[in-house]
Symmetry: C2
Subunit: 200 residues, 2 copies
C-alpha cells in the first residue's frame, strides 16, 4: 500500500493534508480579515490553526503564498455567489444589477472578514496589491462594457472607474460601521447608481 493512501486516524494522508490546508487558510482569513495584514505571520497562523510550522510549509511555499490562497478563495466564493445570483435573475439590466449587489452585500454581512479581505486587504498588503489590481479592474471593465456605445471610450473609462470607487467605498464604509444605514437602503442606492451610470 502506498504511503499516500495508507489510512491514519481514519483518513488518508491526502485527506489530512487537505484538512490542514483548509485549517491554515481559515486561520489566515481570520487574521487577515480582523487583525489586518501585519498580524498574518507564519507563527500566528500556525498558533491559530493549532498546527506547527512544519505543516505550514507542507501546504504553502511561504507566507505570501498563504495570503494569496486566502484571497483567491474568498474571491472565488464571491465570484460563485455572483454568477449564481445573476443566473437566477431575470435577464434585464435592473434585475441583474440588483441580484449582483444583493449577493455581494449578503456575502459581507454573512462574513465581514471576507468583505475586508476582498476590499481592504489588497490595499493593505504588498503581496495582494497585484491581485486587487486585477480584480477591481475586471469589475470596472464589466461596467465599462455595459455602458452604451454612444459614449466615447474615455468617458466610459471615467464612469467605470468612478462607479467602482463609489461601490467599494460604500461597501467599505458599511463594513466598518461608518455608514450606518439599513441594508436595503444600501442595496437600493447601489442599484440605482449602477443604472444611472448605465444611462446615456
Amino acid at each position: 500500500m502506498t504511503a499516500a493512501h495508507r489510512t491514519w486516524a481514519g483518513t488518508t494522508l491526502a485527506d489530512r493534508r487537505a484538512a490542514r490546508r483548509r485549517q491554515l487558510i481559515e486561520s489566515g482569513l481570520e487574521l487577515l480579515g480582523t487583525a489586518g495584514t501585519q498580524a498574518v505571520s507564519v507563527r500566528a497562523v500556525c498558533r491559530t490553526a493549532k498546527l506547527t510550522e512544519r505543516y505550514f510549509y507542507e501546504s504553502f511555499d511561504d507566507r505570501d503564498t498563504l495570503l494569496l490562497a486566502v484571497y483567491d478563495q474568498v474571491a472565488q466564493e464571491a465570484h460563485d455567489a455572483l454568477v449564481a445570483a445573476v443566473r437566477d435573475a431575470r435577464d434585464e439590466l435592473a434585475d441583474l444589477a440588483r441580484a449582483a449587489v444583493t449577493s455581494f452585500v449578503e456575502l459581507i454581512i454573512d462574513d465581514p472578514r471576507k468583505g475586508t479581505v476582498l476590499l481592504l486587504a489588497p490595499l493593505t498588503d504588498p503581496a495582494l496589491v497585484r491581485r486587487g489590481s486585477e480584480l477591481l479592474p475586471n469589475f470596472t471593465a464589466l461596467i465599462h462594457d455595459q455602458l452604451p456605445a454612444s459614449i466615447d471610450d474615455t468617458e466610459r473609462r471615467l464612469i467605470a472607474v468612478g462607479v467602482t470607487g463609489a461601490l467599494t467605498n460604500l461597501f467599505t464604509a458599511y463594513l466598518n460601521g461608518t455608514l450606518d444605514v439599513p441594508r436595503d437602503r444600501l442595496v437600493d442606492h447601489c442599484v440605482r447608481m449602477l443604472l444611472a451610470a448605465a444611462r446615456p
Copy 2:
C-alpha cells in the same frame, strides 16, 4: 549665551534642528510616497536623509510619529491649496467645484508622492488609518452638507460616501497610470459628477 541660541556653522541650534526635521520628513515622504509604508523604517529614513538615528529621535518620538508628521504636512498643504483655490473662485457651485478639483489634480501632478500619501498610505499603514478615516469623512461631510435639504439624511450620506469613493478611485487610478486619460477630461468628469450629485 544659552546653548539654544549659540551659533554653529552659521546657524542656531533651533535652526539646525528644524532643518534636520524637515529633511527627515522629506525623506519620509519620499519613501512613503514611492516605496510604500513598509519601506519607511527608521534606518531607511535616516539613510535617505543622510542623518543618523540620533537625530531621528531628536525630532520624533518613534517611527509612527514621523509617519503622522509626513501625512499631516501633506494634508495641510492640500488643505491650503484647496482654500486658496476656492477663495479665488467665483462664488458659484460650479466654479467652486472646478476650483477644488483642479487644485487637487495640480497637487498630485506636481508631486504624485503627495497624492499617494494622501489617498493610499492611510489604507496601507495601521498608524495612518485613523488619520485617513478622519480626513475623508471630513470631505464626505463637506459634500453631505452641500446636498439639497429635500433629500433625506440617509440618502445624503449614501451619496456623499459614494461620491467620495468615486473621486478617490479616479484620482488613485490617475496616479498609478491605470486611468490613461487627459488631465482636463479627468477634471471635467469629476466636476460634472460633483454637480450631478448635488442636483436633487
